[in-house]
């Protein structure tokens, strides 16, 4: 518990983590509410991207917010994972900490535990802020305030947490492998925003790439939230995922598998490699 509380203290005191949380909330509100609401009131939505008012009301807040996790919230999770682990190499604090006693695996578990809690905080903050704004929209539009079921809210938060944890762990793995932040951030963002997207795009014409893209983080993350968002087919609009989709339960298993693999490989590398 001592190591976990040490890591929580570190997370709390680092301004960069709060800035990331603020960015997560601001991006969510901007892309999930501000832009769509502007499009709704000005009736300027592009074809295929017409905003339904119901998506902006409390009854639709889980579906609206869940679709942000596989995209920008996942990338923010990746940045969090890279910063938390990569900085330990850059500041040489890994060396100082390991000499104190905790043991490498215990240190890793403490850090992952703290990150898991941080991702819970981020997920709750995203949903809470989205819920508040949806109430504001309902009040402005004179619409009824009807909340989704508790089960749906929990499923949405669970899926959001799992997806963000997945990307966070990819960040952790990249930081541990590269022993720093810069390369890990570059590779992670390149992979998350470019490689998966391009390969998926070519998957429409090359069967092999289509099969490969079924294993992608984005594919499985979007597939996991698909029952919540109702988006399982191609749709237009900025940042909208065009597939392919897999069965949500399959996606759950694949994401859980990735989490185990990313954490496991990080643990093995950390345990075996010299700290120089």
């Amino acid at each position: 518990m001592g190591s976990l509380s040490a890591e929580l203290l570190l997370l709390r005191r680092r301004a960069a983590n709060w800035i990331l949380l603020a960015i997560a909330v601001v991006l969510t509100l901007f892309f999930a509410y501000v832009l769509p609401y502007y499009a709704y009131v000005s009736d300027s939505g592009a074809p295929g991207f017409r905003t339904e008012l119901s998506a902006l009301l409390p009854e639709g807040f889980v579906a609206t917010l869940a679709s942000g996790f596989p995209f920008y919230l996942g990338i923010l999770g990746l940045i969090l994972g890279v910063l938390v682990f990569g900085s330990e190499y850059g500041w040489a604090t890994l060396k100082t900490t390991l000499m104190q006693r905790p043991g490498r695996v215990r240190w890793l578990l403490a850090k992952l535990g703290a990150l898991a809690i941080a991702v819970v905080v981020a997920t709750v903050a995203v949903y809470a802020s989205g819920a508040l704004v949806s109430v504001a929209v309902a009040l402005r539009e004179g619409a009824a305030i009807t909340w989704p079921s508790a089960g749906e809210i929990l499923r949405g938060m669970g899926a959001g947490w799992l997806i963000m944890a997945l990307w966070t762990l990819l960040g952790v793995l990249l930081a541990v492998l590269s022993r720093g932040t810069a390369l890990a951030l570059g590779l992670g963002i390149l992979y998350g925003l470019v490689v998966e997207g391009l390969v998926s795009g070519f998957g429409n014409s090359i069967a092999l790439l289509h099969d490969v893209s079924l294993a992608f983080l984005r594919t499985n993350a979007y597939s996991l939230v698909a029952p919540l968002t109702g988006r399982t087919t191609e749709a237009g609009g900025p940042g909208v995922f065009n597939g392919p989709f897999v069965d949500p339960w399959q996606a759950l298993v694949v994401i859980a598998g990735y989490i185990v693999v990313f954490a496991g490989v990080s643990a093995v590398v950390l345990a075996r490699r010299d700290v120089t």
């Binding site: 604090t93 060396k95 104190q100 240190w107």
Partner: protein, 311 residues
């Protein structure tokens, strides 16, 4: 291996690649309660050896025990405090909060932190961010982290590195204080005078190999006596006849004698009674630096056996 020693290594080796052999079969013993100086030039293998002793890197061959335990094991680290190279801390945290993080990882009560901060003279700046600290303050915080566990064994790698002369003197005094009592200190440095002043025993490492080990006196050998006298020839004949003078060398207008220094008074009386005017009679000891360069020369000449046996 027994636990009579704080540190025991046998053939400890670290090879990074086919061409880079950082530590080459180092076998050393650090006794409990002593201050052991580990000296050598930059790149000699001091830091790599220390990193192996705290489990940061794994040996390629050989073995080590630290306080009777495998290096880097939680049992060993619980009783070891270490500062290896420049201290690494979180720049956004204060000195005190950095120690709080370390104390929680070490399982040490946080109430010890203020005591340690006082001890290292950092109490006044403990609330300031580490990123604002001077080099000397960073070193002090590194030392504070090493002392958190009130360790039986303190491993300090170049603790005066980057410090100004005043800081070096303060750190030297501080290490002396820490070494009082039962605590063992294993200290590395490339500053021979620093080690000379603090350490009970010394190991000299060069190119990854321990080339000598012993007390300062053992390494420096028997002290010499420098004699200037008039007339020098008469003095020389006189000294040559004395049975307790083991060795005599004429050097640049003076005589260099190797003998038991307790008999200097007797020597002086005998010279004066032989009508020799003694103008200088000074004991002179080889410095550790001179010992080091002698060893380097011997090693370069291929006299490996001579080098190792010196310790």
């Amino acid at each position: 291996m027994t636990t009579d020693f704080a540190i025991e290594t046998d053939g400890l080796t670290k090879r990074y690649s086919e061409h880079i052999l950082a530590v080459d079969g180092v076998t050393l013993r650090v006794r409990r309660g002593e201050v052991y100086g580990f000296v050598g030039p930059n790149g000699a293998g001091k830091t790599t050896t220390m990193r192996m002793l705290v489990g940061l890197i794994r040996p390629s061959a050989g073995q080590a025990r630290v306080l009777g335990k495998p290096p880097g094991s939680p049992d060993s680290l619980a009783r070891v405090g270490a500062m290896i190279e420049a201290p690494g801390f979180y720049p956004f945290l204060s000195g005190r909060d950095n120690l709080r993080v370390m104390a929680r990882h070490a399982g040490v009560p946080e109430k010890r932190i203020d005591t340690i901060l006082e001890q290292v003279g950092l109490a006044d700046r403990a609330s300031d961010q580490f990123g604002t600290y001077s080099m000397g303050m960073k070193q002090r915080l590194g030392l504070a982290a090493a002392l958190l566990k009130d360790p039986e064994l303190l491993i300090l790698d170049e603790p005066t590195s980057g410090l100004d002369p005043e800081g070096i003197a303060e750190m030297r005094d501080f290490v002396r204080q820490l070494a009082q009592g039962e605590r063992t200190v294993f200290l590395s440095s490339h500053l021979m005078t620093e080690v000379e002043q603090i350490c009970d025993r010394i190991g000299i490492i060069r190119r990854g190999r321990l080339v000598a080990e012993g007390t300062l006196d053992e390494l420096r050998g028997q002290p010499e006596l420098h004699l200037r006298a008039k007339p020098l020839d008469r003095a020389r004949r006189m000294v040559e006849s004395l049975p307790y003078v083991e060795r005599l060398i004429a050097d640049d207008g003076k005589l260099v004698l190797t003998m038991d220094l307790k008999r200097v008074g007797e020597l002086n009386r005998q010279l004066v009674s032989a009508d020799v005017e003694v103008t200088e009679l000074t004991p002179a000891r080889t410095s550790l630096e001179e010992v080091y360069f002698d060893l380097v020369q011997a090693e370069q000449a291929g006299d490996v056996e001579g080098v190792i046996s010196r310790g």
